[in-house]
């Protein structure tokens, strides 16, 4: 099985003189959910921005769906859907119109779009908001629209940055259930979040970023083995990796 994301020796940032990321190398396979974790400023969002193609690598390569952005921009962009930390919507479009625009952009046929849109609107309890302008939605509802856009596109890869901010508990549950379903159907998910207990319950593997470096990666058991903490929860492992001498829980 070919990996969906291949990041090789990626160094990047906003200035060549002060790189934020240092030699990241990792893969994401189809059908797996990978948690990207790190403290504020660790480089999680910068890494995601490099994956999105919003930033040029200073060194190294990023391949999604087997191609780099330079090789085939259209195939690269159609291979993933992105849910940003801060919702990005057009103020003058309604919820339903955003879904239709997304369907058009991803080349989804109208009958397929109509069925998926109805299901998503019901699932995320947004059916009564379908004619509301994005400008008039709460932060959580805007985030739901971004999530629905991503799920509507049903791409091979989901890039999700802090998806739970502003979402109500039912919204969080709907999102996680849908991501589970997408994973079972073969999609890959790379999700960044600070809510480690949720990631622990849903993710197959983890990438631990610290000061722009990948300091640990693997399944929960592999992380426990690396840290020498058998049976420890993800949160304790995380503290061990990022603050080995000052573990908030004590070593």
């Amino acid at each position: 099985m070919e990996p969906l994301v291949v990041v090789e020796d990626l160094s990047g940032g906003y200035s060549p003189r002060r790189p934020v990321l240092h030699g990241l190398t990792f893969k994401v396979m189809p059908g797996e959910m990978v948690g990207l974790i790190g403290l504020n400023g660790a480089g999680k969002s910068t890494a995601i921005r490099h994956l999105l193609g919003l930033m040029k690598p200073l060194a190294g390569t990023v391949r999604i769906g087997g191609v780099t952005l330079e090789e085939d921009a259209e195939r690269y962009r159609r291979s993933f859907a992105y849910v940003p930390e801060t919702p990005l919507l057009f103020d003058e479009l309604t919820v339903q119109e955003h879904l239709r625009l997304t369907a058009m952009a991803y080349g989804i046929e109208e009958p397929v779009y109509a069925g998926r849109a109805e299901r998503l609107l019901a699932e995320f309890r947004m059916a009564d908001k379908r004619t509301a302008f994005a400008a008039h939605l709460s932060k959580g509802m805007k985030q739901k629209v971004m999530i629905m856009n991503a799920l509507l596109a049903a791409p091979p890869l989901y890039l999700i940055d802090e998806p739970f901010l502003g979402l109500d508990p039912l919204g969080v549950r709907s999102l996680l259930e849908r991501l589970e379903a997408e994973k079972r159907s073969g999609s890959a998910i790379l999700m960044s979040s600070h809510i480690l207990s949720t990631l622990e319950a849903y993710c197959d593997r983890y990438l631990v970023l610290h000061d722009g470096r990948l300091i640990a990666s693997g399944t929960l058991d592999e992380l426990r083995e690396t840290a020498g903490m058998p049976g420890a929860p993800l949160e304790r492992l995380f503290f061990r990796f990022v603050a080995p001498e000052g573990d908030a829980y004590g070593a």
């Binding site: 369907a103 952009a105 400008a135």
Partner: protein, 413 residues
């Protein structure tokens, strides 16, 4: 030490002037002021010809009442307040009177100047209608009414609920209309008594609904709207990044986007159609068409220049509508969506062109018809055909210009 609020207001006004100065220079260089001056001269010439031969039974008082009421009701308030002031200025709400008084004074001077200009234009016509009140008495009374109306507008801003606010606005409009009519048609003493009673009634009614002590949110929204309007205007002449705009639903215009075939190549077409229908650009095109149609119809009806007065007015407005419609190409030019979603970039320019042409045509037809019908009713077929054909011919001409602009911008990108 806390800054003096009057100095803060003056500082913000100065910063605003400094910020827009480069854009004002761009506007000046564009030749737009010359077009405005030409249009004003054309209208003035038509109006002068009209004054020399005012038709029997022309509703002089009715026209004056409508015009002056509109100017009295227009009460803009430039506060320069931004949402961050909810943190920094809200604790000083008790002092905000000083700040708002400067904003009010600025609005009153602008509104008063416009009112005086309108009086200057209207009074020669008014004298021909056997005016019961002289200009020397009329002007100060109108200026006093303007002050009362501005005060009423401030009280409306303070009203907490939209329904009550709309009710008070409607009452103020009705009372102002009646007071201006009384002033123009009745003896001065009686009219003054009526105006005073109307002002007292308005003030009493406006005190009944629930009111904010200081309408922060309303002023934030109003200021944001004003900034967007300026930005939209300047964007016609220069490349200015767009800030968030409050959309308008306009279902009659947005319905057109629903007719667009669901396909990937139409993604931008769909987006731009909704953008024009819902954004400030759509509002501006609608206003431009309404004002242009009215001006074209009035100029055409005046019979000035042997029935030709309406055509150039319609052409000018159709030209302005074309320029405005072309600015749709700037919409979402810097949107992050372009980098995150697989939007068909190759179709972006074509979609902007198609939407701009459709919007321009939707403006040009009513503009042409409004200027063409009055001479047609008078049996003057040449100006009729010229008004309509000129407006319609501008659509492909502006499309060609826009196509070149898009090609140039694509090269630059």
């Amino acid at each position: 030490m806390e800054p003096d609020l009057a100095a803060l207001y003056r500082g913000r006004a100065g910063e605003w002037r400094k910020a827009v100065a480069p854009y004002v220079r761009d506007v000046a260089r564009s030749g737009f002021p010359a077009i405005v001056v030409l249009a004003a001269l054309a209208l003035l010439s038509g109006y002068t010809a009209f004054l020399e031969d005012v038709p029997e039974g022309f509703p002089i008082v009715g026209v004056g009442t409508g015009l002056l009421t509109l100017l009295l009701m227009w009460s803009p308030l430039r506060t320069f307040l931004r949402p961050a002031d909810a943190v920094f200025l809200m604790p000083r709400e008790h002092e905000m009177g000083r700040y708002v008084r400067l904003a009010w004074r600025r609005g009153y001077i602008a509104g008063g100047a416009l009112l005086l200009t309108a009086c200057l234009l209207y009074l020669p016509l008014y004298r021909q209608g056997g005016s019961p009140t002289g200009a020397a008495a009329l002007v100060p009374v109108l200026l006093a009414l303007k002050a009362a109306s501005d005060a009423g507008a401030w009280q409306e801003r303070r009203i907490a609920f939209a329904a009550a606010r709309r009710l008070c606005l409607s009452l103020r409009a009705a009372l102002t209309l009646a007071a201006v009519f009384a002033l123009l048609a009745k003896p001065l003493a009686g009219a003054l008594g009526f105006a005073a009673a109307a002002a007292a009634l308005q003030a009493a009614v406006c005190r009944l609904p629930a009111r904010h002590r200081f309408p922060w949110q309303r002023l934030f929204d109003e200021e944001a709207r004003t900034r967007r309007r300026y930005e939209r205007f300047f964007r016609s002449f220069t490349d200015l990044p767009a800030e968030g705009e409050a959309p308008a639903r306009r279902p009659y215009a947005a319905r057109a986007a629903g007719w667009i075939r669901h396909s990937r190549e139409n993604t931008y077409l769909y987006l731009y159609a909704l953008t024009v229908a819902r954004s400030d650009l759509g509002g501006m095109l609608i206003r431009l068409t309404a004002v242009g149609a009215l001006a074209g119809a009035v100029a055409g009806s005046s019979g000035a220049l042997a029935g030709w007065a309406g055509a150039p007015v319609a052409w000018l407005f159709a030209l302005a509508a074309g320029v405005q419609a072309g600015t749709v190409r700037q919409a979402h030019r810097h949107a992050v969506w372009r980098h995150l979603y697989p939007l068909p970039e190759a179709d972006r320019g074509r979609a902007a062109l198609r939407v701009a042409v459709a919007a321009h045509l939707a403006c040009a037809v009513p503009l042409g018809l409004a200027a063409a019908l009055p001479p047609a009713f008078a049996g003057r077929w040449l100006p009729t055909a010229a008004a309509l054909a000129g407006c319609l011919a501008l659509v492909p001409a502006m499309a060609l210009r826009l196509r070149r602009t898009l090609a140039r911008e694509a090269m630059e990108d």
